[in-house]
Structures are given as C-alpha cells and as structure tokens.
C-alpha cells in the first residue's frame, strides 16, 4: 500500500451513471477510500452497509467515505439502490483497476480490488491505511480511531 504521509494520487471516476468525481474536488474534507472486491458479494455488502449507517460519525470528523471497486457504474447503481446506500460507489472500471493499481491495492489474480482502507486528511495526504484479509470485513473501529487521531 502507499505509505502514510504521501500525497494521495489524483483520480477521476464515475460516481453515478452520468457523473464523474475527482479526488481533488473533495479537498477540505477528510476522505475515507474503501476499496473492496465486488458488489453483491456477502462480505462487501456487510461492510458497505455498516459504513452506510455511519454518516453521523463521519460528519463529526468532517469526513466523507467513498467505496471503490472494479464494477461498472450501472452495477454500482443497482447495488446502491438495493442497499439504500447514501454515499458514492466509484467505478474503477475502464481502464479496469487503474486507480486500485495506483493505490497498490489491485489483485491481478482475481482482477478485483483488495479489501483496503485509506484515510486522507483535508489536504489529501494519506494518514492511515489498512489492508484487510479479503474475506474479512474490517469493521469501522480502525477508521474511527484514525479520524479521532487526526482531530487531536
């Protein structure tokens, strides 16, 4: 994974069928990048559903979360609607896994993102990261501690 203290590489990805989002547009807020293997797989559903309940906690720290996988924007739309998600899922779809590769969390064997978390500060500097075993939902305790440390 990319080292803590380095600048998070810029990217631009679809966040909905007709809209793209640039990382630099999110400057001024702490950003949690949640790379995950695939829409619809059981663990990812649990993980994203958990983050979906946490808006209030992220707000408290002036933070926003985005999910990133190699699924297409239409797949994300269906997954998002099905689970009533209130945060964007970004489609690292074409070229496939380019952003995940940039962040060193692409799995060449499966062709999916690894299950990895980055926390960026308001200036887009990586302040915390975590690589989870692929089948294990890392929960939110690590993210919350990282956000708290940044605020202290």
């Amino acid at each position: 994974m990319l080292a803590t203290g380095t600048k998070a590489p810029e990217f631009e990805l679809y966040s909905s069928p007709y809209q793209k989002i640039k990382l630099s547009e999110l400057k001024g807020k702490k950003i949690i990048l949640a790379f995950y293997p695939a829409d619809w797989s059981p663990v990812c559903g649990d993980q994203m559903s958990l983050y979906n309940e946490m808006e209030k906690y992220f707000d408290r720290h002036n933070a926003r979360i985005v999910g990133i996988s190699v699924d297409s924007r239409w797949c994300h739309l269906a997954f998002s609607q099905h689970n009533n998600f209130h945060f964007p899922l970004l489609a690292d779809f074409e070229p496939k896994g380019e952003v995940a590769s940039l962040y060193k969390v692409y799995n060449n064997e499966t062709g999916e993102c690894q299950r990895a978390l980055y926390v960026l500060d308001e200036n887009g500097i990586i302040r915390w990261s975590y690589l989870s075993p692929v089948g294990i939902n890392p929960g939110a305790d690590g993210i919350l501690s990282a956000l708290e440390q940044l605020d202290n």
Binding site: D46, Q47, S49, L50, N52, E53, M54, Y57, N83, N84, F85, H86, I136, N137, P138, G139, A140, D141, L144
Partner: protein, 188 residues
C-alpha cells in the same frame, strides 16, 4: 484481536449469573434475520451453560436497511424501565416476521407492561440515546456484522449457526483457571 469497548458495565442488561466464568455479549439488530436465527441458539447456550454464563445484549440497529430495528431497540429499553427488558427482547425475536410499530405496542401489552408508561418512555430521548450509545460502542469494538459476539471481552470470529459457539465456550470452561482469573479481575 478486537476487544469489547467498553467492558460490561452498569448500562448493560445482564442475563444470568453476574459472577459467571463466561461472559457472552451479542451486538444485535431486532430486524436482522441472522439475529433471528441466533436467538434460539443463544437460548440453548444459556440453558446448557446455566450458572457459568453471563449474557449481555447490546443494540446494533442497521436503520438504513431495517426500518423497525431502531424502534424495536428503543422498545426494549423502555420495557427495561419496567424491569421487562428480556421479556421484550424475547417476544420481538419470537415474532420477528411481524415486527412493525403497531405490533411493538401489541408486544408491550402481551408482556404485561403499563402501556401508558411504555408509550411515554419510548418517546423519551434517554432511550434513543442509550441505543445510539450501544451502536457506537459496537463500532469501537469492531462489530462488522450482526450478530457479532464477544466472549470474555474478545471478538468471536468463528461460526455460530450450529453448536460451534457453545462448544467454544465449553472449551473455555475446561481451561477454566485462566478464564476464572479473568472473571475475577473483571468482577473486582
């Protein structure tokens, strides 16, 4: 290993022997089907382990996917004010497929709550705050699904749908010296 934060305390609803060697904490959601599956499994564990078990249920409602989960959790907290937390906990899980706002009142009636008092208490902020506090403690403890179990303060990552959970705790009882020490430290 992920740890229970905070440890069991006076805000918790405790079932069973307070000085038991085994402390089982469940973070659960009253509308979650897996928690519904876990309900009879935990009941069976309570029966099997008897005085060796202390059981605590903490609320972890996933409100965005389960619209009645938060209200159900608040209802158990309101029932607790009339000393009927576990009665409400049980009746909700036993009728999980019928869980909705109207039926929460029916459940309250069925377990013999003072309805006027109950209806007043479910509107009070204190009960929602308690549920939210449970939820936040779950986030800090690393809850990553419902149900999530903690045994003697450590997150249990194994299977639970058959008898694995019971067997794991029975194993701890066999290795009782260390477990007993933990329980003693915790009960000081």
């Amino acid at each position: 290993m992920k740890q229970l934060i905070p440890v069991i305390n006076s805000n918790d609803h405790i079932y069973g022997n307070e000085k038991a060697l085994i402390e089982l904490v469940e973070y659960g959601d009253y509308q979650c089907p897996y928690c519904g599956l876990a309900y009879p499994i935990v009941k069976n564990i309570q029966q099997e382990l008897g005085a060796d078990l202390k059981f605590v249920f903490r609320n972890f409602p996933l409100s965005k996917v389960h619209p009645f989960a938060f209200a159900a959790a608040v209802a158990t907290e309101a029932a607790a004010l009339q000393n009927k937390f576990w009665e409400m906990h049980d009746i909700i899980f036993e009728n999980q497929e019928r869980l909705n706002i109207e039926n929460i009142i029916v459940f309250a009636e069925n377990i013999g709550l003072d309805l006027q008092q109950f209806k007043y208490n479910i509107q009070q902020k204190e009960q929602s705050v308690k549920v939210e506090r449970d939820f936040e403690s779950g986030l800090r403890s690393g809850v990553n699904r419902t149900p999530s179990f903690y045994i003697n303060g450590n997150k249990y990552e194994g299977e639970w749908r058959e008898s694995e959970l019971l067997q794991y705790m029975q194993g701890l009882l066999i290795a009782a010296p260390e477990t007993a020490q933990y329980a003693m430290l915790n009960n000081q």
